[in-house]
């Protein structure tokens, strides 16, 4: 780090298919549980995909109101409590990644269930945020929100920022729209096996829902109030593919740039990275493209030494919140010195040829983690998270 004080992570909160807290989620991920299930929440008619990963207690019936608001408020409240902050004191800024939330329209029932502004406003109310912005970066949104928040702290715009994402696209319109793009898994297998990152049989992502937030603080501010340092955001890199709205770039340059820029921003040698939390969606294209990008960013020799895993085999893909969920998990991995496994990796794909931690979590020395998130629209985001 060249100058100035560090950006500390001082609070965590999450709602995922693994549970209604960061710790429950981490326990489930570290244990390699799997949350894919046949979707019972609404009639699927002739949809090709039949599976999803809903948040517990909402498997068969959704809430009347917006899930994104409920999850976002719950996770933000947990993060604030964990950081020892109350809404009355408030945070300087809330950066919230979300896609908004839609429902099947009907008489007196508008399609827009949760507008972006409503979702951001709800999180702001929970956290006492004095300034707010929404971030729309598709599946990279959560990580972009965290990186963006770190930059706002480093630029002197804020001392305390709550950043993360909340999304529930496990509603009819978005579920069916993903079906129309053939982006989700449709293969014939038990639902808990449907998401299989880096496996030769992968055929699409498992749509999930949830929220996660982290409280970020300037070191100066955190020290002054005696806050615990859970981890540090040491580097942030982001890029654009400039290639296609949804397809992964064959040259893998976009994701490569994001990782290289993050490691450079952290002023680290690539060999200093202990573990990579992959975007690893279980789609045909993402997983080999990400593998190629890791090789290009780190060089073959280093890339083959760094363990890489994707938690989406456990949790599925919760879209705008995924990068924030995985930031939370990386912080807990650093705490426990455990790299989570890639579940359902049974038949290796020759194009995905790195060490993906396939057979259960791995106890190992973890000081620096790269957390990757890539999204529709060509967005790439990588964070370097340090033990501090």
């Amino acid at each position: 780090m060249s100058s100035g004080d560090a950006v500390w992570v001082t609070g965590l909160g999450a709602v995922t298919p693994g549970g209604w807290s960061a710790e429950e989620t981490w326990d489930a991920v570290a244990a390699g549980k799997r949350f894919g299930q046949y979707l019972q929440r609404f009639p699927l008619f002739d949809a090709a995909t039949r599976v999803g990963a809903p948040v517990p207690t909402l498997e068969s019936a959704p809430l009347d109101g917006s899930h994104a608001i409920a999850f976002g408020q719950h996770a933000a409240r947990e993060a604030m409590r964990h950081a020892g902050l109350g809404a009355e004191a408030g945070v300087d800024i809330a950066v919230v990644a979300t896609h908004g939330e839609r429902q099947m329209p009907g008489p007196g029932r508008p399609a827009q269930l949760g507008k972006v502004a409503d979702i951001v406003g709800a999180v702001a109310e929970t956290t006492g945020a004095r300034r707010t912005t929404a971030l729309y970066g598709a599946c990279a949104g959560g990580a972009l929100a965290v990186g963006s928040a770190a930059k706002l702290i480093r630029s002197g715009e804020a001392d305390v920022v709550i950043a993360g994402g909340t999304d529930s696209l496990l509603r009819e319109i978005d579920y069916f729209s993903f079906c129309s793009l053939y982006a989700m898994t449709a293969r014939d297998c038990p639902p808990e096996e449907a998401s299989c990152p880096f496996d030769a049989n992968r055929d699409g992502f498992l749509l999930a829902e949830g929220a996660a937030f982290v409280v970020l603080e300037s070191e100066r501010h955190a020290r002054a109030r005696g806050a615990d340092r859970l981890a540090t955001i040491d580097g942030f890199g982001f890029s654009q593919n400039a290639y296609h709205m949804v397809a992964s770039p064959p040259d893998a340059l976009g994701p490569q740039y994001a990782m290289s820029r993050a490691v450079h921003d952290a002023e680290l040698d690539p060999s200093a990275i202990d573990y990579i939390n992959a975007h690893g969606t279980s789609t045909r294209d993402n997983d080999w493209c990400e593998t190629l990008a890791i090789r290009q960013a780190f060089g073959n020799e280093v890339a083959e030494r760094i363990p890489v895993s994707s938690v989406k085999g456990v949790l599925g893909h919760s879209m705008a919140s995924a990068g924030a969920v995985e930031t939370v998990l990386c912080v807990l991995a650093l705490r426990d010195q455990i790299a989570p496994p890639t579940v359902n990796l049974v038949n290796p794909d020759p194009r995905c040829d790195l060490d993906y931690i396939p057979n259960g979590a791995r106890e190992m020395k973890l000081d620096k983690i790269v957390n990757n998130s890539f999204g529709f629209g060509g967005h790439n985001a990588s964070l370097v998270i340090g033990r501090g």
């Binding site: 060249s2 950006v7 930059k151 129309s180 890029s239």
Partner: protein
């Protein structure tokens, strides 16, 4: 993560106000955009795309690999709702499910994504630098401008473009030819120029709540227009 320097060490080196957009946005897009890009623009309107591409044409500098791109708008993703959705009937849910699962055009859903312009600007210009889209008002413009400056300060980008745009608001799902949109854009670079980038950060933050990002950027461009000899760029 590296320290971000004083925002006033950075300047607005080029600008394109909403009043300078080419008159026929569709025609302009046809000339500069590849067909797949143009197909995706009819739901997102043309103004942000045209503003960015035209400003890049006028500015004409910068390695695309190190050109950062930031966009900000108040846009909420809209959803097409067929008329029969409003009428209670036995097969309403099944018909709607089929409508969304098998749309007339499978890319229709992608066209409604608020980050559609940023993606298509990048495809046309080749920008592969840092890239981000905020949804919000004038204060979001202030914050995203700070983030844009930080990408130059930390050495990731040589220059950064910030595009602010407005879209028609409301529940109704519109096509480009059914409503107006507008946009303005600036290019930021290191240097102690006449127009301080910090001034854009501050002035956008000081606008009253409810001011759009585009209105705040347009105010800034108008207020500083005379600062450069020979016009706005």
């Amino acid at each position: 993560m590296r320290e971000i320097a004083n925002a006033d060490d950075f300047s607005v080196v080029a600008a394109l106000g909403a009043d300078e957009l080419p008159e026929d946005l569709v025609e302009y897009s046809k000339k500069v955009g590849q067909r797949p890009v143009r197909r995706l623009l009819d739901r997102t309107f043309y103004a942000p795309y045209v503003a960015a591409v035209e400003l890049n044409r006028r500015f004409g500098q910068g390695d695309p690999e190190r050109f950062a791109l930031f966009t900000v708008s108040s846009w909420d993703p809209s959803v097409p709702v067929p008329d029969y959705a409003e009428v209670e009937s036995e097969d309403r849910v099944e018909r709607l499910s089929h409508f969304y699962t098998h749309p007339a055009n499978p890319t229709d859903w992608l066209r409604r994504m608020p980050n559609n312009p940023i993606c298509n600007i990048a495809i046309t210009t080749g920008f592969r630098g840092p890239c981000m889209h905020y949804i919000g008002g004038a204060d979001s413009l202030s914050m995203i401008t700070s983030v844009a400056i930080s990408t130059i300060a930390d050495g990731t980008a040589d220059v950064a473009m910030v595009v602010a745009y407005d879209m028609p608001d409301g529940e109704h799902h519109l096509l480009a030819h059914e409503g107006d949109s507008s946009a303005a854009a600036v290019v930021l670079a290191k240097g102690d120029g006449t127009r301080k980038a910090g001034q854009l950060v501050r002035s956008a933050a000081n606008h009253p709540a409810g001011t759009t990002a585009l209105a705040a950027m347009q105010d800034y461009i108008a207020a500083t227009r005379t600062a450069l000899v020979g016009g706005t760029t």
